[in-house]
């Protein structure tokens, strides 16, 4: 699907969603880390850093230790200083890498934004005379009309008000097949920067200058005006308050340490503790290790990467808030057609009448449908072929055949076959009433069976088509009905499983359809949705959303038409189809460039994954503290109170190596977790309880155990460095 995405440095963007639609993320290219390094260093500017309170504290600590190391240099202090700066840089690196991916996409989008000259119409009214003047595209205002012909670039976003054209939208969607855009209806929106391939259209500009869809896309993928989302703000508050507590815990330790040292005058000064209390370098190390640096460093990268994962699926979220809301969705409103079922009804069964075999009926039905180019007609041919092994015959293959095309007037299609001397065979297939009349007109008898079967199919929500035959031999007609074709909505493969998953995740699915309640129920049962809204008008949809929201539920929906716009605006997550009207695109808070309504389910999963990743890394970060206490506290005070060496459960080499190992582990874990932050924690749809058990086990328990192993490992290496004993 992806011209644009292929240019961005990442893997397999055009791979179709894997079975079951599991959320996956792009992989991390090690080269990308290197490329982002200059950006990461640039972000050390305190004016940028203070936005991240946790890492800002680390930076202040790094500056302070540098001053201390300059005044009283030692191997130990310089090693600590170096790793403190690396800690800050690694945090910036995470953000820079996440942003870098967006930048690459933005660059390729910019290429689509060439300066074009628009042909503006002066005083144009529908049906009026066409007077045009050339103006540069940026000078266009809302409400201007422009004319675009084959081979020209559409100068701005707008709606087609006259004409029909095929348009190449690959610059936006990555989809190379042209799409049809026409005035009126739900396919009227065109996007600036796309190219008209045929015909001529008049477009009414709807964008304000400089605020085109492409401009907004560039801003979004670059994260230029990225604002913190509500949950991110809340998490930041919690992290800031934890930081304050640890700053207090470390700062207030000083008078206690001085008092303790003064009471044991026989104990010699060390690099960790002297008469002035704990040394500045060790103090900063303790603080940096205790405050939640892991999540503090990765928090913004997680947010950027979440948006990025949506972009990879060709979904543009207008705000991070919408992505978060997607994770919270309680009710999904899904349009039946195109989302739950394939677009058109398809043949599912041949029901022959007494004396006719299924094979005969299938053969007749296929012959009668060969000239029917409607999707229903094609489906009969295909069904006869797949279910009865009847080869598809092309209209030219049979000699002496007269093909009767399907028209809306006759509501029948068929074929007249020349069966040899004096005999002809006429087959018709079509709406029950039409075929019945045709058979009666040719002297056939009305079959009561057929009426029963037809009514039965209708009642079950299907569409019955009847097949009739007239055999003309020696001037006499023998007319009869052969049977009924059952056309029905075919539920897309895998939807039932998908909805069962949704149910396990606690999400209620509601199918929206214009069908009557009977039909709707049949499809709803087959697809396994929780509820349905039949004979839905736009205002019914709106009422349903409001009702759900009043009960405290969050609602997500997709839509494309102008009359969907109010509902899209009302829904907490409104995904507009890119093929839809600009009103719909304005009203929703996401746009799906592929115009695939099923993607709503993936969007929900991405939203959840974003929140899970944050929670998992926060838990991991906090759980890490336990091991760090066990590394640093004995290192600081075991000289004073030898009993405290019992807390040195990792048996670290020396106080210096213990402190350094903790600081190094603290820094390295940030880099080690960048891929996880960007990719997101693996998400399997399941109940909250199961999800929690799993994540708690991996990130909670793992967070307790990992640093014990990690710090010990680092200690085994750093003990050979100078200044470690």
């Amino acid at each position: 699907m992806s011209v644009r995405l292929a240019e961005a440095p990442r893997t397999a963007p055009d791979a179709p969603a894997p079975p079951g639609g599991r959320v996956q993320g792009g992989l991390l290219d090690p080269g990308q880390l290197l490329r982002s390094l200059p950006d990461a260093v640039r972000k050390l500017d305190p004016r940028t850093m203070w936005r991240n309170p946790v890492m800002f504290i680390v930076e202040i600590g790094a500056v302070w230790s540098t001053v201390l190391a300059v005044s009283r240099p030692s191997w130990f202090s310089w090693l600590i200083v170096a790793w403190l700066w690396l800690t800050v840089t690694f945090a910036n690196l995470a953000e820079a890498v996440a942003e870098g991916r967006g930048k690459a996409q933005a660059d390729s989008l910019r290429r689509a934004k060439t300066d074009t000259t628009a042909r503006r119409l002066v005083g144009w009214a529908p049906g009026g005379p066409v007077v045009e003047e050339p103006v540069p595209a940026p000078a266009l205002r809302q409400g201007d009309h422009v004319i675009v012909e084959a081979g020209q670039i559409i100068p701005g976003d707008g709606d087609v008000v006259e004409g029909i054209a095929s348009v190449d939208e690959s610059a936006i969607t990555g989809e190379s097949a042209p799409v049809i855009r026409e005035s009126g209806g739900d396919r009227s929106a065109v996007t600036g920067g796309t190219k008209v391939l045929s015909d001529r259209i008049i477009v009414k500009i709807t964008q304000r200058p400089g605020e085109s869809f492409i401009d907004r896309m560039i801003a979004l993928v670059e994260g230029a005006n990225r604002q913190k989302t509500p949950n991110e703000i809340a998490l930041n508050i919690l992290l800031a308050s934890l930081t304050i507590i640890f700053v207090m815990a470390v700062a207030t330790l000083q008078p206690l340490a001085i008092f303790a040292k003064a009471n044991e005058p026989g104990v010699p000064d060390s690099l960790a503790l002297n008469a002035h209390g704990v040394t500045g370098i060790v103090m900063v190390s303790l603080l940096v290790c205790l405050i939640p640096t892991t999540i503090g460093a990765l928090l913004s990268a997680i947010g950027i990467a979440g948006m990025d994962r949506l972009v990879q699926r060709n979904v543009l979220a207008m705000s991070g808030r919408a992505v978060e809301a997607a994770g919270d969705v309680d009710t999904l409103l899904l349009d039946k057609t195109g989302t739950i079922t394939l677009g058109d009804r398809q043949a599912a069964e041949f029901i022959p009448i007494d004396g006719v075999t299924e094979q005969e009926l299938a053969d007749a039905a296929q012959l009668a449908s060969l000239a029917d180019e409607t999707p229903e007609g094609r489906s009969i041919v295909v069904f006869a072929k797949t279910a009865y092994g009847l080869r598809e015959r092309s209209p030219g293959e049979l000699a002496h055949a007269t093909w009767i095309r399907f028209t809306a007037q006759t509501r029948m299609s068929g074929v007249d076959l020349d069966d040899g001397p004096g005999g002809t065979r006429h087959l018709r297939k079509g709406a029950a009433a039409a075929v019945l009349t045709w058979v009666l007109d040719h002297g056939g008898l009305p079959e009561t069976d057929v009426a029963g079967v037809v009514d039965g199919i209708s009642a079950a929500g299907g569409t019955p088509l009847v097949v009739g035959e007239v055999v003309r031999e020696a001037g006499t007609d023998r007319a009869r009905l052969l049977g009924v074709i059952h056309l029905k909505d075919v539920v897309k493969a895998g939807m039932r499983e998908r909805f069962a998953e949704m149910r396990r995740m606690g999400i209620r699915t509601v199918m929206i359809t214009g069908d009557n309640p009977l039909t709707a129920r049949a499809i709803a049962d087959e697809a396994g949705v929780d509820d349905f809204l039949a004979e839905a008008r736009p205002e019914d949809k709106m009422a349903l959303i409001k009702r759900e929201q009043e009960g405290g539920r969050l609602v997500a929906m997709t839509g494309d038409g102008t009359n969907d716009a109010p509902a899209l605006a009302q829904a907490d997550v409104g995904v507009a189809m890119n093929t839809g009207t600009s009103a719909a695109k304005e009203a929703g808070n996401m746009v799906d460039l592929d115009s695939n309504p099923t993607k709503l389910i993936e969007i929900v999963e991405i939203g959840k994954q974003l929140l899970i990743t944050r929670g998992a890394l926060t838990t991991f970060s906090i759980a890490n503290d336990i091991a760090k206490y066990f590394a640093i506290i004995p290192a600081m005070f075991a000289a004073l109170y030898p009993g405290l060496d019992r807390l040195n459960v990792m048996r670290l080499h020396s106080p210096q190596s213990a402190v350094l190992s903790a600081v190094i582990f603290n820094a390295v874990i940030i880099v080690a977790l960048i891929p996880l932050a960007l990719r997101g924690v693996k998400y399997r749809p399941s109940s909250a309880s199961k999800l929690l058990s799993r994540n708690l086990c991996v990130y909670g328990l793992g967070g307790v155990v990992a640093p014990f192993i990690g710090i010990k490992f680092v200690d085994l290496l750093v003990q050979f460095l100078p200044g470690m004993s």
Partner: protein, 553 residues
Amino acid sequence: MSATLAGVLFTGSLVLALAVVHRPLGDHMYRVYTGTRHARPERVIYRLVGVHPEAEQTWASYARGVLAFSAVSVLFLYGLQRLQNHLLLSLGFRPVVTHQAWNTAISFVTNTNWQSYSGESTMGHLVQMAGLAVQNFVSAAVGMAVAIALVRGFARKRTDRLGNFWVDLVRGTLRILLPIAFVAAIILVIGGAVQNFHDPHTVQTLTGARQPITGGPVASQEAVKELGTNGGGFYNANSAHPFENPTAWTNWLEIFLLLMIPFGLPRTFGRMVGSVRQGRAIVAVMATLAVISVTLLSFFQLAHHGTVPTAIGSSMEGVETRFGVADSATFADATTLTSTGAVNSFHDSYTSLGGLMTMVDMMLGEVAPGGTGSGLYGMLILAVVTVFVAGLMVGRTPEYLGKKIGSREIKFAAAYFLITPICVLAGTAVAMAGTWGRGGTLNRGAHGLSEVLYAFTSASNNNGSAFAGLTANTPFYDTALGLAMAFGRFLPMIFVLALAGSLARQGRTPVSEGTLPTHRPQFVGMVAGVTVVLVALTFLPALALGPLAEGVH
């Protein structure tokens, strides 16, 4: 019967009794706080103070009520102590000195009941009865009122009203504390606690010295001292004094009394939010932490690692022989876990690790089960923080009891759990920084540091027990500890009420399969984990220089 077995029986019977009582008591409290009828004496009180009992308050107005009532109480109590020589029943005592009077006034109004004075030689009967005992009731009722307001925040939706502080205060006092305290006082009198207005009775001791023995309204004050998790004893020796706590079974009763309301309130909470199992989960967190704590403390006391205890075969120093080591350890644990602060033995004399446990109990933030009311709201705040961190891991904006925990909510919750550690750590640091604080310690080195750390931990968490050893009646300690008590009580209350206000304004998100279940053992374990890792571990560096330094060999 071995000491261990006796200890297990003692504690086991307490657990059993609490399990039996928490249900009817919780249900009773539920009816008290949700009932619509006012009793006649209550109407009289409302008319006297000029309160319209049907008018509900916003969180800010509720908080103003709490603060105004407490401020008036402090002034009244201060005045009473300063003027006691002009009043009745003064027993001839002089006015209490200014810094001590301030400290005592704050101490009793904040439900801390830290005592820098010794009761029998400082306070006349009028101050004890009209001042201190009254605060024993109302300060506990204030705590419960704030807890109930928070619960209403969870239970209600789309409103800015949290109930009426004055109604909650009056009902808590008259319908919950008074009747139970009345019955308990009578039982204590039966057990041998004194209740009289006799003049001091002078006796000749075994060594031949003459000692005045002061009687007084002891049993009545003792009952509410425990029931309201106050802890301010009539006598300096507190519950170690035979007039306050005469026998082993009154010892059992006193522990039971101080645990019963804190363990009953989660049931009330469950009833009010319409889901009893949510209350059960909260009580399970409290009980888990309490059982672990009492086991460890008893183990450390019975294992007695110290030199002297090992030499004499038991850690009997500072322990009353009529209670023994195990029962004293249970009392010490219950009193530090509940913000009561009454003592029947001297924590200063405990083994280093036993002493450490009493501090850790308080450092948990007085939530397992904590003080009357304050325990419940403290635990609910921790539940909110847990839901926030762990709840994200289920892929939804965290929610607790159908209320979303957004930035506003987390701001109040985070501010709440910032206050106490800051008070403890800053107070200790200031005290240890100069002679004003170091001078008060009895011991040098790590044990001296423990005395100061304990004092600020106890004051900031509104516990009120003392490590002994520390000379706390100095202008510095009276003032600093008074401030720690005031900040440690009222700032968290304001944040709790603000949180309640913001919760009540929300609608309610319906529960689905995707909602984090907050009634399962999984959640219970998580809240306990967060309490230990996020709250208690903060104090590890300080503890390392105090009891840990002494206790780990």
